[in-house]
Subunit: 426 residues, 2 copies
Amino acid sequence: VIISGSDDVNATSPAPAIDGTALTRRLEQLGQIGRTAERGLTRLALTEADRDGRDLLTAWMSELDLDVEIDAIGNIYGTWHSGGGKPVMIGSHIDTVVNAGIYDGAYGVLAGLEVVAALRRAGVQPRIPLTVAAFTNEEGVRFTPDMMGSLVVAGTLSLEEAYAALDADGVSVGRALNEIGYRGRSHPTEHAPQLYLELHIEQGPVLHDEGIRIGVVEGVRGISWQRLVIHGEANHAGTTPMHRRVDAGHAAARIQVFLRDLASSNGTLHATVGSIALEPNAINVIPGEASITVDLRDTEDRLLTEAERQLATYCRQLEEEIGVAITSRRLARFAPVVFARDAVDQVEAAAKSRGLPVRRMTSGAGHDAQMMAAVAPTAMIFVPSVDGVSHSPCEHTVPEDIVNGANVLLDVTLGAVTSLPPAPNA
Amino acid sequence: VIISGSDDVNATSPAPAIDGTALTRRLEQLGQIGRTAERGLTRLALTEADRDGRDLLTAWMSELDLDVEIDAIGNIYGTWHSGGGKPVMIGSHIDTVVNAGIYDGAYGVLAGLEVVAALRRAGVQPRIPLTVAAFTNEEGVRFTPDMMGSLVVAGTLSLEEAYAALDADGVSVGRALNEIGYRGRSHPTEHAPQLYLELHIEQGPVLHDEGIRIGVVEGVRGISWQRLVIHGEANHAGTTPMHRRVDAGHAAARIQVFLRDLASSNGTLHATVGSIALEPNAINVIPGEASITVDLRDTEDRLLTEAERQLATYCRQLEEEIGVAITSRRLARFAPVVFARDAVDQVEAAAKSRGLPVRRMTSGAGHDAQMMAAVAPTAMIFVPSVDGVSHSPCEHTVPEDIVNGANVLLDVTLGAVTSLPPAPNA
């Protein structure tokens, strides 16, 4: 175990270590709340199931002698007040998608509780506060935008905008917070930490495929979402010669193949066409219009911008060649996030000290960490997802990896709370 | 004017010729029945609008001293009884698609009336009967299958099957025929003619593009319809590496591009992917399933079969390359129809005698003629559609072409009714 700056640690205490059995038990117990018939789990943000999950989490925090505080957007903070200044924060979320697994989000929060328990068992006395946080509505299934709670902490989304978001039944976030009794008083922006750490399953297959135990996350890929609408000419499939066609569906297919080739010949670009609609969408009519979505992700903003440029150039070529007209509308654009080098290095060092095979990687999924990175040095730790499955009842991480990830989180936290000087509160 | 075997024609009569003004007037008058707000025309089979159209048509037949008969599937026959045996039949249909133009179908039937009028004016006395026919439900919009009336005449579809067909509201053809008062007694198969002629707008751009006035139709392209379902793996668009994807949408796009290339490098094949559905069809999820329709058409059965085989081979290649599984279900298969060589030659000779530029071609759209070809020598005459538009309020054929086509029909009919020996009735 690496304990850097461990001058407050009693050398005769046992080395801090995660209790894997306790962590697994918590994951399974929280995973029973919102359970559905299909072996899955649905605990959408600010529903009764979410409230029940929050009640269990806050009870656990109190059992660990953490001071529980709820902020105005419903984020939950359990703080070990020790020393002074801004806390080190371990965070993630406990809301889920529809028919989810038990790890995503919950793992990072509950591992935080076990870090606290392990530090207490080892007799560690932090120099600065340590907070375990659960952010509201990370998944964004019921309310848009996703990562809402951390967005408000980061000041990127105002509290008023967040309150006004409506679900499909017209219920606002403000009203839903009141209904489940989780609308607190403190302003979210007051909770910016001195260091933010998030442990998460990878939700992709890279670590699993390569037999690597710990992913050292250097940042989050930027996202470019656009909708392309291709205007062609609907016409009779039997009577229109091939050379005479202005087939919007054909143009859509060409763009799909182009993007696939572009991403496959490029180290970091990910490109997906997930949604298509043809008009009139009839077996014997040449499509007169096609609408497709394009999801581009890359690690650097200049690479993302270059991919967007190449797509636009190809669309102009298709307009010339096929005679279609292609319009593009931006749906979302998030620049890549690069985590603090020191914090990332500490994760790598901690994993190597435990003899765990590591690789540096970039997250392709969004996490609260990418929002928190705007207000604090941030790092993430990934553990393997079996076969890369996530957002599914089949999501699984083996117990050994669950414990490995939490021990790395423990070591980095221990180093931080015992070495970082107290920082003034925001 | 070519009048072959004209021993029954009084040499002092004026040469038979179509009255273009009368024909245009009839087209416009029938085109008012079923008119909609958007300049279009909707006269679906066996609706009240269709009944009104039928009432007008039968009134016109009576004015021309034709004997009107309705058969058991509602086909309308107006016959000039002269001589004996099976008639020469000029036919098409007066039902329309939704928001149609005024020419499709109606042109062939109303030109038949003007042929009768022209022959009467010229004092021609046919050696055999001449019938103008309008077949029930050629378009197949309200009831399936299309070309229903001629299918029953050809004996390919039984009267009982036709009666049982239901529209979207559960109304059967049998009931709809009763409701509009057009369920006659004679069996459709008794109406097989000695020669069948159909005049139609091209519904495609070939004649228009090439500046040709008359299309000599040698047959109807065969049709192969299938639905391909591509099974891949739905996965996260951000976390799944490109090489790890089993993207059903990508496979669908590759098939589209393959079919386009196949048809473009082939003289006669037409290939269309008109309909696509992705699952789950979300912007940030790699498609786990794609369903596409494939419409292949060709002039010869061996060519159609070869295209089907090449598509199947390509699907097997994609299964290997991408890891998807592709299943295929046949939705429809009609072998190409080849019209009687003599009848086709007569159309070409008649058009050339009038000094009209002609080209031989194959119809890519379905017509009653392809069903009638099973029971009688058959030929079709095409005239240009401006810009290839059809099944649209913008469908248009210029008056000169309307008259040219009807005159070619007149000349071929005159040749037949004055030269063919009486044939025994069925």
